[in-house]
Symmetry: C2
Subunit: 459 residues, 2 copies
């Protein structure tokens, strides 16, 4: 590797970091909430913004590729030569919903800079992945007129919905997306040490809806004679766990296998930091969970079943003596090796169906699912990432198993048959919560990391 | 009783029925949702509308009387002479909340006449009680310049909130409200036979709020290590009843006494009609409840515990993988003789507190409570009501035990020490639900009934 194209690229990035951040705000202003149909046009507008930016930067074949769901964005630059590797850079431009809106100090789509932090929905999860890769490309291309490796960009618009149509999309475009490695840049770290994901949990999300009377009724007139759907919600949700947190869905744990020694070592190494970080993010001193496992095991190596929303009847202030016509709940189950999301979805559905009765109608809808997966933590590709971080930050990244789910990892692994490595490009907190922010002191270093990675891959 | 003042009064009412209905719409347009602080000014505006109308009609001492909650409206006409009885006419002008708003065919506060039915929130529960009494007064006074009995009007603004401050109010104004009988005109019948309430259940309403982490969390990052408040909602709500509907709050049934033979006879007489009516109002074929009791017993003579609202986390469409910071539920317990609402509130609070743990904060707030009560079903005052209906409708009213709660009944009985009789003045359906309506074919007969009652009381 010749050092001067790298140095020229970094110099360009450093000269432009302020204007990069200004430009980032334009993308953050687009409310691309992929899970909510009310924001359909905004999601597309965000995709179009990215395509236009790609074209401006000289990325070729920049285009929206339709899926059965939200649009994906593709672009490439493939002139590094046959011997150079091809890297597939992945991020997602859709963002989480914003409720409870009243807890945001400033509006989620009006990016606000306070004490060096940029507050906006999606600022670290995961418009950052999209934007930092584009700015790394811009820096290298502007400084050198070429890149040291071939790159393909694929930016998703339905990650926060569980990527329901991406597997079919990747199958349909497997030739276009072919590469030597897929780099997943989703989120990042919440402190001053960069982070690489060593694993993700799989997921099954589902909604249970329970219908009773044809309309909301007076609880005085009909209490005692009409089956109240909220009571069934209580029966089912109350039966999901035993008093110590063990999931009671029959067969739920059947396929779970212990993690490897290498991964178990990562859990142990991160235990103290994980607890400290959890205390800060949650405001809690006392944690919860099945007592047979450590904190780190419960957070990344054991499956979960969490109710994400529970609803029915009157939600306003004060009392309303109604017997609701319907009620329900949403659930996300996090899966670990070797659980099969299709199998878990079936077991959950069977569990809910076991509450069937002739006075209420129970409907279960599986919303999304994905496989658990492990990513590269050693070997030359992982080293290219590790060294990019180490050079930039002066310290090695923390290698962490993750509790969350990134469905695209399993898809790249299973459909494209390529290895996956994780390279987070954001520092901040409150992803999936009010007041999501990016600590801008680390914005420049993340661009540098993405630049270093491209040069490291060319060695 | 001289017949011509009565006939003149009825003639006036018949001549003005169309203009009465037009005028009623003005009152219905005021969104007097007493339970929702956002409608505070509208509640007062409704009270002021009533005072102005009283003054226009020649009702004396018409005024708003402040309570610790929503304003009450008082007025009187006391010139019938010392020997004439004094009747206290009661109704409430506050209305239920309107959600789910999207199920209303026309807006709840834009009264809409379709196929002889007037649709509006509060049109039968219970602006009808207020308005029909005023129009009966207007008819008798306009036709005769005097009334055959002394009347006092007391119209409440917080009945739908459980009348939390009315007991103190009645104590403070016991001399002003002194009367020979209180007439409760709340709601009415849903078919072509008028209805008198023979009993009401008491009520305790409460809200349980459960706090977990300081903010909504990512269910991937924290699932398995942070106690999810919605799971505790499930545990508690799921434990309220056994699988056949028996309430599991320790001691809940301890004070329940069987109803008298006379009241049991009413239950039996109404059983078939009650089931038929319930089928029509609920759209259900199959009912629910503790199998040891009949439908009529479960609906009026047995206590209940219904969740009126259950909440927590994401309520929108699709999935959001959040671990909510808080969750909760609202509950109404209907009480029967000889249950004491204060005792039941304590037992409910103790039951919820038995779920206490060191990973969640549980708060219980009792919102309102009232005693169960029976009303007059025989004797001269009950006969004055029964004959008013019988003369007007050509048939006797159906005497029914009620499943709902009218806290004011117990207050009049216990604080003023006077008997209470029920005289509903509305025909319609969907009280407490979308598309509440008054069947206007029966509006005139209800005014006639109120007129007859005044003359019957003078005999």
């Amino acid at each position: 590797m010749n050092n001067s194209p790298l140095q020229a690229s970094l110099a360009y990035a450093h000269d432009h970091v302020e204007s990069f951040i200004e430009q980032y705000k334009a993308l953050l202003r687009i409310p691309s909430i992929g899970a909510d149909p009310a924001y359909r046009d905004d999601v597309r507008r965000a995709a179009e913004w990215i395509v236009a930016e790609m074209e401006r930067l000289g990325i070729e074949n920049a285009q929206i590729l339709e899926t059965k769901g939200q649009p994906a964005v593709y672009g490439d630059w493939l002139h590094a030569g046959r011997d150079a590797p091809t890297v597939l850079l992945y991020a997602h431009y859709d963002v989480q919903p914003v409720d409870p809106l009243d807890l945001w100090i400033t509006p989620p789509f009006a990016p606000d800079l306070r004490e060096g932090k940029l507050f906006a929905r999606g600022v670290i999860d995961d418009k950052s992945g999209v934007f930092v890769h584009l700015k790394a490309f811009e820096s290298v291309m502007s400084a050198n007129g070429r890149l040291p490796v071939n790159v393909k960009f694929i930016f998703e618009g339905e990650e926060e919905s569980g990527s329901p149509t991406m597997e079919a999309f990747i199958e349909a475009h497997s030739a276009l997306l072919a590469a030597d490695v897929a780099v997943i840049s989703d989120g990042g770290s919440s402190d001053d040490t960069p982070r690489m994901m060593a694993s993700v949990r799989g997921i099954v999300t589902a909604e249970v809806n329970i219908h009773g009377p044809a309309r909301d009724l007076h609880s005085g007139s009909f209490g005692g004679v009409v089956h109240n759907p909220t009571h069934m919600v209580g029966k089912i949700v109350g039966s999901l766990h035993d008093d110590e947190g063990r999931i009671q869905i029959p067969g739920f744990y059947d396929e779970v296998v212990p993690v490897s020694d290498a991964q178990q070592a990562l859990i142990k190494a991160n235990e103290a930091n994980a607890i400290a970080q959890a205390r800060e993010e949650t405001g809690l001193e006392t944690f919860w969970g099945v007592p047979d496992y450590t904190f780190g095991e419960r957070a990344t190596a054991r499956p979960t079943c969490d109710v994400n929303g529970i609803y029915g009847g009157y939600q306003g202030r004060g009392a309303k003596t109604v017997l609701p016509a319907e009620a329900g709940f949403k659930v996300s189950m996090r899966l670990v090796d070797n659980q099969d999301p299709t199998d878990i979805a079936k077991k959950f559905t069977a569990f809910v169906s076991s509450f069937a009765c002739d006075t209420l109608q129970l409907d279960v809808e599986v919303l999304s699912s994905s496989w658990p997966a492990e990513t590269l933590i050693s070997g030359p590709i992982a080293r290219a990432v590790i060294e990019a971080y180490t050079t930039t930050w002066g310290k090695a990244p923390r290698m962490e198993r993750g509790g969350g789910s990134v469905p695209i990892i399993g898809m790249f692994q299973h459909v494209l048959g390529i290895p996956v490595v994780s390279m987070g490009l954001a520092q901040g907190s409150n992803a999936h919560a009010p007041n999501e922010f990016y600590d801008l002191a680390y914005f420049g270093p993340n661009v540098d990391t993405a630049i270093h990675f491209l040069f490291n891959m060319a060695c």
